[in-house]
């Protein structure tokens, strides 16, 4: 059974639909990447999945359970975690406090998860007492991902994790995404750096005007001249 499935979802703001039937499916061991032009509904899709936006039609299932329009904290308890694109760290809290906040819904001892996050992102361990607001953009992104991993999610949603980062950091973030995925976390992410992202994607979804334009493996999408011409800048 697929980890996450969206069945033709429609969603938008103030009665205006931005998503017009988005169809996706991710397995537990997969990285899914959503690409597409600005305004295609990429981030909106993630927000709709994470209950931040009302879905008017269609449904979403997590391992077959209907989770359509569930509230974010309920979804966190069901094993989903979301990293927003902007303002994704608590700037006045220390790195470690940021991670602890990710584990807020957990009642058990999660200290082993702190160690695991520090092993994914060794840079953060030295800076654990520093306010997250003092870190660089790339390190903040690591804090944000680390915070999301604290609940040991089965599915991680990432909204443009490499936006505004230097190519060096971009590669590092992608490497970490692969490592996280190999540890057994399904990943669904939105990316502007489409070519690089599709290279690590098991599945790619090209959205345009709130609908799937192409859905295939990352490699096939990269190889498709039509996709390359229209969506990947040649």
């Amino acid at each position: 059974m697929a980890l996450l499935e969206t069945h033709d979802i429609y969603a938008g703001y103030g009665g205006m639909n931005i998503l017009n039937g988005v169809k996706m499916s991710i397995e537990q061991d997969e990285i899914g990447v959503i690409v597409g032009p600005n305004g295609a509904g990429k981030s909106t899709t993630l927000k709709a999945i994470f209950g931040l936006l009302n879905i008017s039609e269609g449904s979403i299932t997590l391992r077959g359970d209907d989770i359509t329009n569930n509230a974010p904290d309920a979804l966190v308890r069901k094993g989903m975690a979301f990293v927003p694109q902007e303002h994704n760290v608590f700037v006045s809290l220390s790195v470690e406090e940021n991670l602890e906040m990710g584990a807020f819904t957990r009642k058990d001892d999660y200290s082993y998860m702190l160690e695991r996050v520090y092993s994914f992102f060794p840079d953060l361990k030295d800076k654990r007492r520093q306010p997250a607001g003092e870190l660089s953009g790339g390190q903040r992104q690591m804090v944000a991902m680390g915070r999301a991993l604290m609940v040991e999610p089965s599915l991680l949603l990432l909204d443009e994790p490499t936006a505004g980062l230097s190519p060096l950091y971009m590669n590092e973030i992608f490497e970490r995404v692969i490592a996280v995925n190999e540890s057994g976390v399904g990943v669904l992410m939105v990316e502007q750096n489409a070519k690089q992202a599709l290279r690590i994607a098991h599945k790619g979804f090209v959205l345009a005007a709130g609908q799937n334009r192409y859905t295939d493996t990352g490699a096939n999408l990269l190889a498709d001249p039509e996709v390359a011409k229209s969506f990947l800048g040649g």
């Binding site: 994470f50 927003p84 760290v89 006045s92 809290l93 906040m101 990710g102 807020f104 915070r147």
Partner: protein, 330 residues
């Protein structure tokens, strides 16, 4: 020597007393602002209401205090703090939560809190009248005086003032530990930092809001009670100090509890320094420098004391709008 003792009594001790009261009040205001993003004008009347609960409890069990050697009202204060915390949550559920659920602008919340303050004022006067009451029913206020060797005047501290200082220290330390060491305290700081991310992280924002009202309500009750123990209880007692409390919160940096503490003492000492008759302290130098000092040499007459927080507020907003410590987060 007597001049110095006047200074200690009327500036240092008075300033520390009123500064502590402002600080405890301002911490509540600043926490509510940090979490709920609106200026809670009903805070002063929440103080008065809490104090009246103390008065009722003191009248019901007047013998408790003398039995343990503390003022009865002080012994009853923790019970009343709990009651005020419950009422604060009730007020939130009844008046502020419905507005919050409809995503109203902060100014609507502020106006709602003005409405709540008027309602509380009416209720307090309806049940307790408009007269002055004393929280000392069956016990007497102890006064400690300390004599310095070559002075005829003595340094005077009262028992409620000492209790106030001790409570202020206790409250600040407890709040510090709560905000920095506990899961809920950290969640409070997180929510004040970034409410959207707090929600996305799975933090139960309703719980955080509830805890905020519990702390603010309990501290309001304590501030009102400790002030009334020092002077007397009047229905408008706390309302009269609403402005300095807001000044203290803004001076320190809104949303910043340590800022509120600093701001409380800045406003408190500014008031006592401004109304102090400096002629008393300078008189010994009169002959040495050939001055002719007037009888009253204070910056502001006592009856215009309320202008001090106004002035500080304007000065801060002009020169350092974010407050002494940078405001907006806990």
């Amino acid at each position: 020597m007597n001049e110095l003792i006047f200074f200690i009594n009327f500036v240092l001790i008075s300033g520390a007393v009123i500064g502590s009261i402002y600080a405890i009040g301002a911490i509540g205001v600043t926490l509510i602002f940090g979490i709920l993003r609106f200026a809670h004008f009903a805070h002063a009347d929440m103080m008065t209401m809490g104090t009246f609960i103390v008065l009722i409890l003191t009248a019901l069990f007047p013998a408790v205090g003398p039995a343990i050697g503390l003022p009865t009202a002080f012994v009853m204060m923790p019970v009343a703090m709990a009651a005020t915390a419950v009422i604060a949550i009730g007020l939130d559920k009844a008046f502020y939560k419905p507005l919050r659920d409809n995503n109203v602008k902060p100014v609507v919340m502020v106006m709602a809190s003005v409405g709540v303050t008027l309602m509380l004022q009416g209720l307090i006067r309806f049940f307790a009248g408009t007269g002055t009451q004393s929280l000392y029913i069956d016990d007497r206020k102890s006064i400690f005086s300390f004599n310095l060797s070559d002075a005829s005047e003595s340094i005077v501290v009262t028992e409620p003032q000492i209790l106030l200082f001790l409570f202020t220290i206790f409250a600040v330390v407890a709040l510090h530990i709560f905000l920095n060491r506990t899961r809920l305290g950290k969640a409070m700081r997180a929510m004040s930092d970034n409410p959207d991310l707090a929600r996305v992280s799975g933090i139960n924002t309703n719980t955080v809001v509830g805890v905020t009202w519990v702390i603010a309500g309990a501290l309001a009750c304590a501030a009102g009670t400790l002030l009334s123990l020092d002077v007397t209880l009047k229905p408008d007692l706390s309302f009269m100090i609403l402005l300095p409390i807001f000044a203290a919160a803004i001076v320190g940096g809104v949303g910043h509890p340590y800022g509120a503490l600093v701001g409380g003492f800045v406003v408190g000492f500014a008031e006592t320094l401004a109304v102090f008759n400096w002629a008393i302290l300078l008189r010994p130098l009169e002959t040495a420098f050939g001055w002719d000092l007037p009888a009253d040499l204070s910056f502001v007459p006592t009856e215009y004391k309320i202008t001090i927080p106004f002035f500080i507020l304007v000065a801060i907003l002009v020169w350092r709008p974010t407050g002494i410590l940078k405001g907006k987060v806990l």
